[in-house]
Structure formats: structure tokens, C-alpha cells
């Protein structure tokens, strides 16, 4: 310890205090400016982003159901539902309703396969009012690249084998992959992923069957789609 007299010591701690204070202020200022910038950008882009998400939802929908089959604004006509057993998640799932001249045409419902190989798989299924699958889409997943990720639409057409099927058409024990005695193709090298997806889609059909009228008639209560990326 250098031998400081009390005056010097006082001066030192004073200048120390002053520099801490000064730096604290500068840091605070920077924090405010950078947060302020983010707030500004957020406010400026909020509406545009919400609109883009709507558009992309519609695009996704038209991949499954051609847009000439319905005439309502689908992304404004939707409800949230919740069923841990059949829809695979504690979180609310969404049901978008497609109608044609006021008649119920089809539903698009989001659902979760909780038992994928690496966590949950988010799926959207479009089902006609007669319970027939019009199409399915994988929204997000973390399956093994090169094996399980073939469930994606743009990697293989594995998902298309569900098109046109309904509960009436296929017995309960056929809703499995071929390996387990069902009728669905598996994927080479990935057993768990297809199993999870088949099960999730089957459960979704069960859910829709037992809630059919409710799903179409309930008053729309989720006008803006949630950011599909935020849950990730």
C-alpha cells in the first residue's frame, strides 16, 4: 500500500466516484439510445410485419387448399382451441375457417406432435367439413437433417400420402406406419419422426370429429395471427 495522506486519499476516492458516476451516465445514455432505436424500429415495422405474416399464412394455406374453394378472409376468421391429449400441447392452437358463400368448407388447424425425435413438431392440417384431409404442412421441427427432415414438403413428398384420407375411410389400426402394421410409408433411417407425425394427424382428426360444429360456429376470436417465429 502506498503511503497516502488523508487529503490525497479523499481526492482519490472523490475522482473515483466522479468517474464511476460519469461512466454510469454514459452507459445509461447508450442504453437509452439503443433501446430507443429498437422501439422506433419496432413501432415503424409492427404493422408491416403483421401483414406479412398474414400473407404468408394465406400462401401456406393455398399450398394445401386452392384459394378458389373459399371466399372469406381466412386469417380474420379463426379461433383458438386447446387440447393437451389430442392436439399435443398445453399451448393454444389455432383453427382457421374457410367458407364458401357462407357454407362451411374446411378448417386449417395447427397441431403439435410432442414426440418427435428431437422435440416437438408443429404441423398444420387442412381438413374439409366432411372430415377429409386436404393437405398437411410442417411448420417447425428439429428432426435430423437428411433423415427425419424428409417430412418437410420441399424435401420429399412424404406428407402428400395423407391427402384425401379421412377417419371413415381408414380403420383405427391402419393409422400407423407400415412397420407397425399401418398403411403409411415410413422414412429410411427415421422411425420415430413418421410415427409421431402420423399419430399427431390422426389425433387431430379425432379432435375435429368430436368438435366439428363448434369449430365452425364459434365466434372468431383471434383476428391477428401470432408471430409464428416467436415460439421458437
Amino acid at each position: 500500500m502506498p503511503n497516502l495522506n488523508s487529503n490525497e486519499r479523499k481526492l482519490n476516492s472523490l475522482s473515483m466516484k466522479r468517474s464511476i458516476f460519469r461512466n454510469g451516465m454514459i452507459l445509461g445514455l447508450f442504453a437509452m439510445v439503443s433501446t430507443g432505436l429498437i422501439v422506433m424500429t419496432h413501432l415503424l415495422t409492427k404493422d408491416k410485419i403483421a401483414k406479412e405474416i398474414e400473407l404468408s399464412l394465406v400462401r401456406q394455406l393455398t399450398q394445401m387448399v386452392p384459394s378458389e374453394h373459399y371466399d372469406n378472409e381466412v386469417y380474420l376468421d379463426c379461433i383458438t382451441v386447446n387440447d393437451l391429449n389430442l392436439l399435443g400441447s398445453k399451448e393454444d392452437q389455432k383453427v382457421y375457417r374457410m367458407r364458401n358463400e357462407g357454407n362451411d368448407f374446411a378448417l386449417m388447424i395447427t397441431t403439435v406432435a410432442p414426440d418427435g425425435y428431437s422435440g416437438k413438431i408443429d404441423i398444420a392440417v387442412a381438413v374439409s367439413s366432411h372430415g377429409k384431409i386436404l393437405g398437411a404442412n410442417i411448420l417447425t421441427h428439429q428432426e435430423t437433417p437428411g433423415l427425419g427432415d424428409k417430412i418437410e414438403r420441399n424435401k420429399s413428398d412424404w406428407l402428400t400420402q395423407f391427402n384425401g384420407l379421412s377417419l371413415k375411410q381408414l380403420d383405427k389400426d391402419k393409422w400407423q406406419v407400415k412397420k407397425d402394421g399401418g398403411q403409411f410409408d415410413g422414412l429410411t433411417g427415421a422411425t420415430i419422426t413418421p410415427r409421431a407425425v402420423v399419430k399427431a394427424i390422426y389425433n387431430t382428426l379425432l379432435y375435429i370429429e368430436s368438435h366439428q360444429q363448434n369449430l365452425f360456429n364459434q365466434v372468431s376470436n383471434c383476428s391477428l395471427p401470432k408471430d409464428s417465429n416467436s415460439g421458437n
Binding site: 461512466n23 452507459l27 424500429t41 415495422t45 408491416k48 406479412e52 437428411g146 429410411t188
Partner: protein, 211 residues
């Protein structure tokens, strides 16, 4: 301390002599994670270069107003806010691109190469050299990402430029080159261990040429 290097030397440093991934060994976390294919590598590369140039410019502009003791937290704040703003703007105005590059943007925050350049270069240099440095380092990083991606893609599934249409649009589907078809992919190359092995080979190769 300002460097007296001219701009072309600074640029060349970024590309080769002081390459982010091969020499400084920075930014390995995102690098190892996404280089499963060449296009993924290119995507992360573009996003990183953009942020690197932006953060270098910003840091260089305000370098004289930052007290030395608190420069690191300030850099962290600047970069985080820059990345967030870029993400929001891309989300709003280039939605298609955002869907493709979006997953890479949060990864950039974990890229210590950005703060590394802010600290080692931009905080000590004028605007133009800082810009050139950001660009050079970014492009150097991008090239390594693409090389590693191409290597893993080729060994793992026998293609190069798979998924190019995600980045460039439908016409780019024809760019994908198939070298051999395989039902059973070589998973070692596609999964993270392949990234470590590939990066090791690249570094060894670079050292061999340099010496």
C-alpha cells in the same frame, strides 16, 4: 493507435492472413452449427457480413466518445441493438429473405467475431478502413462458411448447392448439382462432428499453403 495499413492490405487480411474462422478462430458457434449445406453457409455469411460492416461503421463513428473503461458493454449494446433492428427491418421489408436468413440472425449475436472486430479494429480506426475491415472479414468468413458447407454437403449427401432456390428463387433449382445418389446419407458429415472435422481440415490446408 491507428493502423497505417492501406485498404487493400486490410481487405486481404480479412480474406486470408487474419481470416476470422481459420486464423482468429472466432465465430465458431454459428459456423459449426449451420454449415450443413453450402446455401446455409452463404445465408449466414451474408447476414454476418452485413452486421459486421454496420457495427464497424457505428463503432468507428463514435469511437472518440466512448470511455475506455466501459467500451465493451457499449459495444455489446450497440451490436445487440443493431442486430435487433436488422431483424425487424428484414422481417418487415424483405419477408421472403427473412424466412430464409431469419434463423441465422439471432446466431449473429453469439458471434464473437463482431465484437472482436469492434474492439480490435473499429474502435481505433477511421471510418473508411473500418468499413473495409468489416467487409473483408465478413467476406472471408462467408467464404469459409461456404467451403465448409459445400464439403459437408458433398460428403454427406452427394450434392452441392442443394436448396439454392430458398435463397435465390425458383430458377436456382437447376443450380443444384448431384454427384451421387444415396438413400443412406453419411450422417457424420451432416451432423456437428462433421463440422469440427471439416474445419480442422480447412485450417490445416490453409496453414499448409501459408507456410
Amino acid at each position: 493507435m491507428e493502423t497505417s495499413l492501406n485498404n487493400s492490405t486490410i481487405f486481404k487480411n480479412g480474406l486470408w492472413d487474419n481470416n476470422t474462422a481459420l486464423v482468429q478462430l472466432l465465430g465458431l458457434c454459428p459456423l459449426l452449427a449451420v454449415t450443413g449445406s453450402m446455401i446455409n453457409g452463404l445465408g449466414l455469411g451474408i447476414a454476418t457480413t452485413f452486421v459486421l460492416v454496420g457495427s464497424n461503421i457505428t463503432v468507428s463513428l463514435i469511437r472518440k466518445h466512448i470511455p475506455k473503461e466501459i467500451r465493451i458493454p457499449i459495444f455489446v449494446m450497440l451490436i445487440a441493438s443493431f442486430v435487433t433492428n436488422v431483424q425487424l427491418l428484414m422481417n418487415a421489408f424483405t419477408y421472403e429473405l427473412y424466412l430464409v436468413l431469419g434463423i441465422f440472425i439471432p446466431l449473429i449475436v453469439t458471434n464473437c467475431a463482431i465484437i472482436g472486430r469492434a474492439e480490435a479494429f473499429a474502435s481505433k480506426n477511421k471510418l473508411l478502413p473500418s468499413f473495409v475491415d468489416g467487409l473483408g472479414q465478413g467476406i472471408g468468413f462467408t467464404l469459409v462458411l461456404m467451403l465448409l458447407g459445400a464439403f459437408r454437403e458433398f460428403v454427406g449427401q452427394g450434392t452441392i448447392l442443394d436448396g439454392a432456390h430458398l435463397l435465390f428463387g425458383e430458377w436456382a433449382k437447376d443450380l443444384t448439382m448431384h454427384f451421387y445418389l444415396t438413400e443412406q446419407k453419411f450422417l457424420l458429415a451432416i451432423l456437428p462432428p462433421g463440422a469440427f472435422i471439416g474445419l480442422g481440415l480447412l485450417i490445416a490446408f490453409k496453414n499448409k499453403i501459408s507456410n
